[in-house]
């Protein structure tokens, strides 16, 4: 267990460093990192601090948010197929962003797009909680989440459908694929505080999720307040994933695949899986963002495309393994 912790932390640190020293300018890693930490007065310091650092911090934070909320969602719903998008956060944040692009808010205000995406996430999650009721079962939460996700996706399609402006439609499609290029430190300051709130809410769920291994009835009888757990899961996921989607677009598969891969390594304990998935998610997103820049440095390969391209085969492998275990 400790070995896994060191291994994952080491991996994240290594990938973060690679992410920092990677760029179109041919500059040595040592020189880049020196310019990051000490103001050399050259453009390199500016590049490091204003372009590469926010990109690395966002990849780390968003990956951790997706991994953590995926693990929390799977633990709460006791279903290995649950994913943070299940409660409608990603879809409604995407709708908010799409409306911002379509109406021109995104073009006229500096942070119009991420703020509209956040507003979309807030509205979506409030509707889900309203529909599911304060004390419903996890099933009503799933149903409400699916309903709101579908509705938000339908509205997004409607906006695309009726869009008179092909450029806006193009921009919407690209935004929805998810990306971390051209993000600034301001994006970090917008998203990071919310993500930290989400991490705090989700990170303290360990013991409750462990107890839920035995079912809702047994957990409640062991003194776990299910209502509180439910609020913590939903608000934590909404804050972390809502902020992530607002600044980076929809990035799929991380929240689904990472907890899946790491579960056997933590003895399947949902509490221990939380921090492991946070580290694993950060590693996966950093690696994908590095891959985006290495594979097609000139082209604009989208991050969400890479995570799905890597995630889907990993998922297929997991299905294969599960099938073999069941036989």
């Amino acid at each position: 267990m400790r070995l896994l912790g060191f291994g994952l932390t080491g991996l994240v640190v290594l990938l973060a460093l690679i992410s920092l020293v990677l760029g179109p300018a041919a500059i040595g890693p040592a020189e880049s990192l020196y310019a990051l930490f000490t103001d050399t007065g050259t453009p390199l310091t500016l590049v490091m601090r204003e372009i590469r650092l926010p990109r690395m911090v966002l990849a780390l934070g968003i990956g951790a948010s997706l991994g953590l909320s995926g693990a929390a969602m799977q633990g709460y719903l006791r279903n290995p197929l649950a994913d943070p998008g299940l409660i409608g956060v990603s879809a409604s944040a995407a709708l908010g962003a799409v409306l911002a692009i379509q109406t021109g808010i995104a073009a006229h205000f500096a942070f119009g797009l991420p703020l509209c995406a956040l507003a979309g996430a807030v509205v979506g999650v409030s509707l889900v909680m309203l529909l599911a009721g304060p004390r419903g079962s996890s099933l009503t939460l799933i149903l409400a989440g699916i309903a709101i996700s579908s509705l938000a996706a339908a509205f997004t399609s409607l906006v695309l459908n009726l869009s008179p402006n092909p450029f806006a439609a193009n921009e919407i499609v690209f935004w929805m694929m998810g990306s971390l290029s051209d993000r600034s430190m301001s994006h970090v300051w917008l998203a990071l505080p919310l993500m930290v709130v989400g991490w705090a809410l989700l990170g303290s769920l360990g013991r409750s999720l462990d107890a839920l291994t035995l079912g809702e009835d047994a957990a409640e009888a062991m003194g776990i307040g299910l209502r509180r757990v439910r609020w913590q899961v939903v608000l934590g996921t909404a804050a972390a994933v809502g902020a992530a989607t607002a600044v980076a677009g929809a990035i799929g598969f991380v929240g689904l695949v990472v907890p899946h891969i790491l579960r056997p390594l933590v003895g399947a304990r949902p509490g221990a899986l939380l921090w492991a998935s946070a580290l694993g998610g950060a590693a996966m997103l950093l690696a994908s963002d590095v891959a985006v820049r290495v594979v097609l440095p000139s082209g604009d390969l989208k991050l969400g495309v890479v995570t799905a391209l890597v995630g889907a085969p990993l998922f297929l492998h997991l299905i294969y393994r599960t099938r073999r275990e069941m036989a």
Partner: protein, 252 residues
């Protein structure tokens, strides 16, 4: 000393009366068998006692704060849910959750309690096995061990011995009896009236949404009660090997 006091518990679910004015008190050192036909309200009574479903009337457990209640009574639900493939020892140690403060790791005392529970249920050899890969009966024993690890004065168990082999049915009832002798109390719902008659110190019969009989097995398992509430007749005899109860025919 009373470990559980229920007074006039009534439960209505979906406008259907399930229980009406059931009162029950359980003191220390009792193994109480809760019996009754399917749908008589055994599970509902236990869940209402724990405060897991809304009920009218008073329950000493339901009034407690959740954490205090979890230290006073352990609950073994009928559905044997194990959602993740954890190992046996980890699952049994989950029973210690009510005793751990926020962020407090599992300590020596908790490991010792889990160890005692594993030992009692004869699960030491299975400790490293994955629970979800065990047989149904073995899983049931692991879940009972989790309840024992909670080390509460009172245990409420919903059909704990259903699905166990005969030897483990008997040994589980013996373990409950030992716990009672140590001053704990156990309330079990049970369909095997033979085992109930042999091992329980007291039986409570539910029928027609109410408590119809409460006392030592001999007073409860009367021909009238068996006919009216189970629709059977039976042979019941005190022998040198203890009480022998065998249902014989369906009547009515």
């Amino acid at each position: 000393m009373s470990l559980l006091r229920l007074s006039d518990i009534s439960v209505t679910l979906r406008q259907r009366t399930v229980l009406e004015r059931v009162s029950l008190e359980i003191g220390a050192g009792e193994l109480v068998g809760l019996i009754g036909a399917n749908g008589a309200g055994k599970t509902t009574l236990m869940r209402a006692a724990l405060g897991l479903i809304p009920a009218q009337g008073d329950s000493s457990l339901a009034q407690m704060a959740p954490r205090a209640r979890a230290k006073a009574a352990a609950w073994l639900p009928q559905a044997r849910e194990v959602s993740w493939p954890v190992d046996v020892e980890t699952l049994v140690t989950l029973g210690r959750i009510p005793h751990l403060g926020t962020g407090q790791p599992v300590g020596e005392m908790d490991r010792a309690a889990a160890e005692r529970a594993l030992d009692r249920m004869g699960l030491k050899e299975l400790r490293a096995r994955t629970v979800t890969r065990l047989s149904g009966g073995e899983q049931a024993r692991v879940l009972i061990a989790r309840v024992l690890a909670q080390e509460t004065p009172l245990i409420l168990a919903d059909e704990p011995i259903a699905g166990l082999d005969p030897a483990h049915q008997i040994s589980t009832m013996r373990i409950f009896r030992e716990l009672a002798a140590e001053g704990h109390s156990v309330l079990v719902s049970i369909h095997d009236l033979g085992l109930a008659a042999r091992h329980c110190t007291r039986l409570v019969l539910l029928g027609g949404h109410a408590k119809v009989a409460d006392g030592v097995p001999r007073q409860v398992l009367t021909p009238d009660n068996l006919r009216d509430h189970f629709g059977i007749c039976a042979h019941f005899e005190e022998t040198a090997q203890g009480p022998i109860f065998q249902a014989t025919e369906v009547v009515g």
